[in-house]
């Protein structure tokens, strides 16, 4: 019950924020220098063609009227006239979503599979060689840009070794390198956070009690300590959702991954600002939804918050 009311409350609070941010995005794209219609029809167009485009984009109307019709359009799923798709781009943007989501989800999965155990191992072997090695790895990963890591992976695994396809989507193997490139930063952050929290938890009384009871070290770590260490880990992943969304655009470009980010960069190249703006709106909507889910998850794993 409290979870439901929480969700209802949050959804209600999101409406004005969504309204505000879409307004800001509208204003940002109104600042495009030069005439949008001229940009879209190209340099060789006649004045009549430019005028026709201006009417089609609604640029002949006053800005307030443009804004109102833009907002009404968005609510009804009409994202305007995109020169790339010669119409409403929304269905095409949505068609690209599954690929981006697949990339993000597999990056999160890899982060949990690698980052959490790495942090646990480092904490359990505190100040020994494996701890130093892992900590060094974390520091290095945090300094490496994902686009460079992606290119290096391509250079070694695709060009030199020929083990993996260098771009596009040709089955599950195609997912490996983009996932690694996107997840690297997250793995480092999660490993560092898990290590820190584990170190703190391992010093606590309940661990000593468990040891005194004669519980095995492994059981203590996995059953008791790790459980308490999970909450900050989920927080870190939650806070990095913005990185995942932004980072996916770059990674998609490197691997020609058929997601939303790839579409965004193509749209910028084509100067199709309707499409660019539509994609930004979709990203923001997705980001808001994700944050809602993260908060819900947080509530589920941290019972202390439920009564607050």
């Amino acid at each position: 019950m409290p979870v439901i009311s929480f969700v209802a409350l949050r959804v209600l609070r999101i409406v004005p924020i969504a309204f505000g941010v879409v307004t800001i995005i509208f204003l940002i794209f109104k600042a495009v220098p030069g005439d949008q219609a001229t940009l879209m029809v190209g340099a060789t167009a006649t004045q009549a063609e430019i005028d026709a485009m201006r009417v089609r984009l609604g640029l002949d109307r006053p800005i307030l009227e443009q804004y109102v019709s833009h907002m009404f359009g968005l609510v009804q799923g009409d994202f305007g006239w995109s020169s790339t798709f010669r119409g409403n781009p929304l269905p095409y943007i949505l068609a690209r979503l599954p690929a981006t989501l697949a990339l993000m989800l597999s990056a999160i999965a890899l982060t949990i599979v690698i980052g959490v155990p790495a942090g646990v191992v480092a904490a359990v072997h505190h100040d020994r060689w494996i701890d130093h090695l892992l900590t060094g790895f974390v520091v290095a990963l945090l300094a490496v840009p994902n686009f460079w890591l992606g290119l290096m992976l391509v250079a070694v695994l695709a060009v030199q070794m020929g083990w993996l396809p260098s771009h596009g989507f040709e089955g599950p193997a195609s997912l490996i390198m983009p996932t690694l490139a996107l997840a690297a930063r997250l793995i480092a952050l999660v490993a560092r956070m898990t290590r820190g929290v584990m170190l703190e938890e391992l010093r606590k009384d309940y661990v000593r009690t468990a040891r005194a009871k004669g519980l095995e070290g492994r059981t203590i770590v996995v059953r008791h300590v790790l459980r308490n260490a999970m909450i900050p880990t989920v927080t870190v992943i939650g806070l990095q959702m913005g990185y995942l969304l932004g980072g996916s655009t770059v990674v998609e470009r490197i691997f020609a991954w058929p997601g939303v980010g790839d579409l965004l960069l193509n749209a910028i190249g084509m100067r199709d600002y309707t499409l660019v703006q539509g994609i930004v709106v979709v990203y923001v909507a997705g980001f808001m939804l994700i944050n809602l889910v993260v908060e819900g998850l947080y509530l589920l794993i941290n019972p202390r918050l439920r009564h607050a």
Partner: protein, 278 residues
């Protein structure tokens, strides 16, 4: 016990100085890079197109025979300028918003918080890409985009710190004795928020390098033929199979700089923020 604590502290100091030395080296290269460079960054050696590193071209040559070592040296200034300017601008705007919101509270704070919350719903890199696409490729667009993507989180961080400081007795006392708002802000609140700002700024500088070079890589940054590292990476990408040095070297230059800023930021936090000391 004190001996152990001392070595621990010494270890942390090492990070600070290593970071400062690394960033300092980059700054020096940015200032005198064109004098150190063995070639002009645009000079073509047509017998060495895509040439691998050798005695004449230490880090190899690019697709039109330009010396990569010289280009990296001269290009340092672009990356550092973007990092420096965008962080200074973002800190100035973010600190102003945060100080005003946190100090005055009420409607002013509600307006600041509202705006910040709105902007925080746009993922940083997406905001940067959107703004860069609107302002247009180039140095100005790059700085505006990077700055704008950092302002919201800085404003939120500084506002939080100011809210804490505002409750301190010395601030309350200063207000009670009738000091003007401007004076309280400048004399008492600002100096106490500076630590947080300095630490965050040095960590953000690394992020700025990341965002700036990413935009360059995507073709939204400084335009060729300027030897900006991200742009160079984007161009070198086409020759990954025949001339991997065109991708390897700029990447190392970028990563080491970010590494330096990260060390500096962590070191500063250890040195300046008493709360982070265990």
């Amino acid at each position: 016990m004190p001996a152990a604590a001392n070595t621990y502290r010494a270890k942390r100091r090492v990070r600070l100085w290593a970071g400062a030395a690394l960033v300092g080296t980059y700054v020096l290269i940015a200032l005198i890079g064109d004098r150190l460079a063995p070639y002009h960054p645009d000079e073509q050696d047509l017998f060495n197109i895509l040439g691998a590193p050798d005695a004449a071209h230490w880090l190899g040559a690019d697709n039109i025979g330009r010396d990569q070592f010289s280009r990296l040296l001269v290009g340092t200034r672009f990356t550092l300028a973007v990092a420096f300017l965008s962080v200074v601008l973002a800190v100035t705007i973010g600190a102003t918003l945060g100080l005003i919101g946190g100090y005055f509270g009420g409607r002013v704070d509600a307006a600041v918080t509202g705006l910040v919350d709105l902007l925080l719903t746009v993922p940083e890199l997406i905001l940067a890409i959107a703004i860069a696409s609107v302002v247009g490729a180039g140095m100005t667009g790059l700085i505006v985009a990077t700055t704008a993507s950092f302002v919201p989180r800085l404003a939120r961080l500084i506002r939080g710190r100011v809210l804490e400081i505002r409750e301190e007795e010395y601030v309350q006392a200063a207000i009670t004795v009738g000091m003007s708002d401007a004076r309280v802000l400048l004399r008492h609140v600002m100096p106490n928020a500076v630590t947080v700002i300095v630490i965050e700024a040095s960590l953000l500088a690394g992020q700025a390098v990341l965002v700036g070079t990413a935009l360059g890589f995507l073709g939204l940054g400084v335009q060729p033929p300027a030897p900006e590292w991200g742009t160079m990476l984007g161009a070198g990408r086409e020759y990954l199979d025949v001339a991997p040095h065109l991708v390897v070297m700029p990447g190392i230059a970028i990563s080491l700089l970010i590494f330096g800023f990260n060390l500096l930021g962590d070191g500063l936090r250890d040195a300046l923020d008493p709360r982070s000391r265990a």
